[in-house]
């Protein structure tokens, strides 16, 4: 165990040194004081974990001369964090890690901000969504499950998810539309809690991210039915018994025509300069080279898309339009 981690550290350092060497020529600007990563969600969630992993990697491998701190600003479904960054115009020492609430919070609550108030830096990964049921239930496939939901009175089956009018509920509504069924959606505070509610049979299904439910899957407490991505996952290592992430079929192939991936990316306040964003892009490239990062990606079966600059901005813009359409359809837009 220890030996293995030492080995991977050594390996990581070597790759890092190479990466650092290559990037020396580009780095024009450097932080002059402590860099803050704002997390618009509570401690322990997916975005928070990712921010803390980045912080840990940067600290452990000395990727930056200044220190890095993580600050949770979860109030108002993350609105608190976004407003803070919006207000910190041209401050190059503030980053914010985003999840889907970048789009959903302003739409659902009317809190005044949009991604256009921020400067996109880099997309580090996309988080997958999987439809889970309790392993003791007889449903082996999406078809079994949807048939059972259809047979029951509308609203009898309970879908657990994180937050209200956010990604989990958007997916739930999309499933309802695609399959012509009706769930009762129950919002909880965090993904881990949702997974445990499923194990305890307090809800019938969830759309947890892989990392939130993997421990329960490995203990054979929950069963994945399908993944909400265009293609099956690329991770072929055995996770639970004989199964790997790659064995989970896509929902589309099972007759649920729905794709949803969640952004895990970084933004800065508006008004920062190009050399400043370039610095962080290089930093994140180095972070992605480390073994710790690869472990995280593998554990959570993340989609490792990496985007920067105009390409990233374009992606965000499209995604915003899509959320607007999805939320309008679901009736989640704020009244005013």
């Amino acid at each position: 165990m220890l030996l293995k981690s030492l080995k991977s550290i050594a390996l990581g350092t070597v790759t890092l040194l190479c990466a650092a060497h290559l990037s020396v020529a580009h780095a024009q600007w450097e932080p002059t004081r402590t860099v803050e990563i704002i997390v618009p969600a509570g401690p322990g969630g997916g975005a928070d974990q990712m921010a803390r992993v980045v912080q840990g990697i940067v600290t452990k491998h000395n990727l930056m001369k200044q220190s890095m701190v993580v600050i949770n600003k979860a109030g108002g479904a993350g609105g608190e964090g976004f407003l803070e960054v919006k207000g910190a115009r041209a401050n190059p020492h503030k980053l914010i890690i985003t999840l889907s609430n970048l789009f959903t919070t302003p739409l659902a609550t009317g809190i005044p901000f949009s991604w256009k108030d921020l400067t996109p830096v880099a997309m580090l990964a996309l988080d997958e969504f999987v439809l889970w049921v309790n392993a003791e239930t007889p449903y082996q496939s999406v078809k079994d499950y949807i048939a059972a939901v259809k047979a029951a009175p509308p609203g009898q089956f309970k879908m657990g998810g994180t937050g209200s009018k956010q990604e989990d509920q958007i997916i739930t509504v999309a499933i309802e539309k695609a399959a012509g069924v009706k769930f009762t959606y129950i919002p909880f505070r965090g993904g881990g809690e949702v997974a445990v509610q499923l194990v305890g049979n307090h809800v019938n299904s969830t759309v947890n991210n892989p990392i939130e439910a993997v421990a329960q899957w490995r203990a054979d407490k929950v069963r994945p039915l399908c993944v909400f991505d265009g293609k099956t996952l690329e991770y072929k290592d055995k996770v639970a018994g004989e199964k790997s992430w790659a064995d989970i079929p896509t929902c589309k192939s099972q007759g649920l025509d729905m794709e949803y991936l969640m952004l895990r990316g970084f933004f800065m306040p508006a008004g920062v300069t190009k050399p400043q964003t370039d610095y962080y892009v290089e930093l994140f490239k180095k972070v992605r080279e480390t073994p710790e990062w690869r472990d995280l990606m593998k554990n959570g079966a993340f989609n490792q898309s990496f985007m920067v600059g105009a390409e990233y901005a374009k992606w965000v813009e499209n995604e915003e339009k899509r959320h607007q359409a999805l939320m309008k359809e679901a009736g989640f837009l704020a009244g005013n």
């Binding site: 002059t32 004081r33 402590t34 803050e36 220190s67 701190v69 009762t184």
Partner: protein, 167 residues
């Protein structure tokens, strides 16, 4: 706030403070109820809506405030004092500097304002010699700086002086 000013035996009547508090809680209740009405106070098919609980909480406060108002008039004789003026002056001698302290904090930062607050307190209320006053007033913000910003990496509000020093 000095010893001499106490014991004059005069001050605001407890009855009026009681009545004032009851009216204030009633006003608070009305604000809560208005806010609840804005988000819907009915019991929908899926259980109570966002304003249901706050609305009834507001209603409870309003009704109870009424009882407290009545009790304020009947149970407290007008001659009973809330506090003597001298005592209230002592209280205000903390409240006013602290108010200035918290209002100035966003502009001058926590370190400078804490220095002034501590120095003022020790010199004005405690009448300590300048040496002791200054050493404590300087040490506490300095210690705070190292403890929070350097060891625990918690950024605290800073003002123009810290910017000038490049901290």
């Amino acid at each position: 706030m000095s010893e001499a000013s106490q014991g004059t035996g005069r001050g605001p009547s407890h009855r009026y403070v009681e009545v004032g508090v009851a009216i204030a809680t009633a006003l608070f209740a009305i604000i809560v109820m208005i806010g609840s009405l804005q988000v819907g106070i009915t019991w929908g098919v899926e259980g109570p809506r966002a304003g249901f609980f706050p609305f009834y909480v507001g209603l409870f406060i309003l009704i109870s405030s009424g009882f407290n108002l009545y009790a304020g008039f009947t149970e407290y004789s007008p001659s009973k004092l809330f506090a003597e003026w001298g005592q209230l002056r002592s209280v205000m001698s903390v409240v006013i500097p602290t108010t200035v302290y918290v209002l100035a904090m966003p502009y001058v930062g926590i370190y400078l304002s804490s220095f002034v607050l501590i120095a003022l307190f020790m010199k004005w209320l405690g009448r300590y010699p300048w040496g002791l006053t200054l050493s404590i007033a300087i040490c506490v913000p300095l210690l705070t700086y190292f403890m929070f910003e350097k060891w625990f990496l918690v950024p605290l509000p800073k003002g123009p002086i810290e910017d000038m020093l490049g901290l």
